[in-house]
Symmetry: C2
Subunit: 471 residues, 2 copies
Amino acid sequence: MSKRIALNAFDMSCVGHQAPGLWKHPRSRADEYNTLEYWTDVAQLLERGLFDAMFLADVVGYYDVYRNSAAPVIKDATQIPVNDPFMHVSAMAAVTKHLGFGITSAITYEQPYPLARRFATLDHLTRGRVGFNVVTSYLKSAAENHGLTDQISHDERYEIAEEFMDVCYKLWEGSWEDGAVKRDRAGGVFADPALVHPIRHHGKYFDVPGIGLTEPSPQRTPLIFQAGASSRGRAFAGRHAEAVFVGGIRPDLTRAVTDRLRDEAEAHGRRREDLKIFAMLHVIVDETDAKAEQKRRDYERYADTDGALGLVGGWSGVDLGRFDEDDVLEYVRTESIQSFLTPFTTADPNKKWTVREVAKHISMGGMGVPVVGSPQTVADELERWIDEGGLDGINLAYHVSPGSFEDFVEWVVPELQKRGRYRTAYEGTTLRENLYGAGQTKVLDTHPAARYRGAYAGQPSAADTPARELV
Amino acid sequence: MSKRIALNAFDMSCVGHQAPGLWKHPRSRADEYNTLEYWTDVAQLLERGLFDAMFLADVVGYYDVYRNSAAPVIKDATQIPVNDPFMHVSAMAAVTKHLGFGITSAITYEQPYPLARRFATLDHLTRGRVGFNVVTSYLKSAAENHGLTDQISHDERYEIAEEFMDVCYKLWEGSWEDGAVKRDRAGGVFADPALVHPIRHHGKYFDVPGIGLTEPSPQRTPLIFQAGASSRGRAFAGRHAEAVFVGGIRPDLTRAVTDRLRDEAEAHGRRREDLKIFAMLHVIVDETDAKAEQKRRDYERYADTDGALGLVGGWSGVDLGRFDEDDVLEYVRTESIQSFLTPFTTADPNKKWTVREVAKHISMGGMGVPVVGSPQTVADELERWIDEGGLDGINLAYHVSPGSFEDFVEWVVPELQKRGRYRTAYEGTTLRENLYGAGQTKVLDTHPAARYRGAYAGQPSAADTPARELV
């Protein structure tokens, strides 16, 4: 039987996310990102389309590598201004019942104690529909404005992240035992202190001696998302991620990435299929291939290559503004440029990738590609991506929002359903059930968070030991 | 003409807020604090009652001074478990149009750059209805679980807070000039980089060289709340606070506090009336005085003195568990105990305040008092509080939620309206307009945030200087 295709909508609380300039298109409502109506409308649309989740990207900085300036991205609203993605989730949750919400948080600048509470709170309010996209921030501007003179080194960021997650798991899974909360009005007991435990965490980066602030939420641990592409990032994903995001320019190349990720999962005692891997794609669909191609050309007129080069600067650290638009980048013998260029040259070795060509590509698809055509063409192509790429799902970015999502729900969802490749109803009510099936609300037993389930039972609790002595 | 009485509802994302034990009452829905329905129901009720704001308290720790243990407060759910108050605001905003939301944030554990974004995001999503209750955390358990071995000293916490606010004001008021955002689709300009400025803040505690992440929100600076009672806290309030919360046991004693606060405001170049001062009160109202007294006695049966002593421990640092319930506290010659006791002995010098009496008082009114009676009696008493206490409004705590608020809206609001002491319709759409009148959406000119309005015009911007060089 063919694998069901999972589906995330990729959005961000900003005007220009992955398709800089497209906010100017008459169909775009992306500049309404700062209104609740935009978010509740999109959430309801996605739930109508039976999406697994809305995935919210985030940066706590801005892109100022290109031309050594933030001016290009400000002019075009490319990921700046950018709002806090946590803030609109409860409004979206109030108008939906099944849709999940994956929220990006750059833990480099957070403390685990309050962040664990933030996610647990949302898991309560959404009744188990929250995911946590673990990011170790890549923007120098983010580091600087958080009072650091420069970024923490890449590998140390991951070392901090490992311990950070460990603290969160202890708080979410271990501190409050199942059954600790009684809500017993007649007996006068809200919770039994004997079943609430201090986690007594004393690590290299964090000291969290106390008890968790929140009672157990439906999922306890939110669904863990991750997108790291480096080898250290892959190891982190293999251990922690339940959903992983990858870029994608050609399915066969993506296959190498997904295979390596699943190897990592196995190396950490998990099954290959425990990782749900999503490739970022844009879809432009209409009644016929011709109409879709016409739509693509129409979109392209609004694309902004300056904003695209702004994104490239932030993602790669490479300022392509130092070159002429017609310079062929393969001829530039700088390691960071070649490293950035690899996916492009591998995908299309015969093409001469100039600055202009790279900018054009990014402006219409980020580090992915647009899939363009009739519902049948698009469905064929998505099936090919899933099967050849060894993927579980698509992380659907937009050119115009919510227009791109509307088109997908109208044209592509019915076609995939006809082919038996897409759900016709939600299986459960929590985000984890959306991905792992009905009943799987908590982390799988093989997940590192699971080891803290009941781990403190019988150990010192809030009841039998004065809290202060445990510190 | 008599002064209009302003009204905040005092709530917290927890089960037992100011009336420990009352969650067990059949009328209480407080244990639904972790559902969206509870919050949207309460918000709609408050807006029907024309409240100025819902004010959300918060702690990022728990009360473990009493009996050197968190067990008493866990058993009774006294402010633990506690959810993140930011998380349910957008759902409440989606079902209301005027009600403001004051959110407590303990800035001791925050960085100004992301916190400024969080408030700005909510100010956008609520269309200008957000307030920021600036707190410098008082719980040792909060400090410990944020990786600090002990709390930062009281005075240094306020010094940090001063600089913290300064950074926020620069980001909210100064970084993006009025008119910076064009949203010009035809011209291809979302924002003009020449009107967006790095704030170049380099202080003792924070370095924030860059530009703000958010475009200007309706209020720009959220309404600033504060509740500090110490002399350092009063100075902070005199400078920064637009709304101040005070405790209240007797109106004439509260008058001394409000006079000193308005003196502080004057000392900082503001008018006495620029401070809107709210006293925390509980109200128990019914058709007649007798019925209200009956209701009070019914509530009292559910009150929990153990939870109350837990709160006392956290607020005062004094463990009253070291004494016998019948010990008269005046006879205990410990400074911290006498300091805590002062409001009680001053209000009622003839009473012998035993541990039991203090616990009983706190369990039914926190550091305030319940006002009990018919709508007429309650309105008389509230008018007396406002006029004798030199107050602007009431910070209405609940015994049962939303029951206490329902009773107030049903019985007291019409009575106050009849007397011309309460609004009959909202004046504007933003929180600041609720308190300062229609049109006053931005901070008053005398507020310290106002000094950064347009302060960077003509100075280096994102357009004319490479971003990195400004650092």
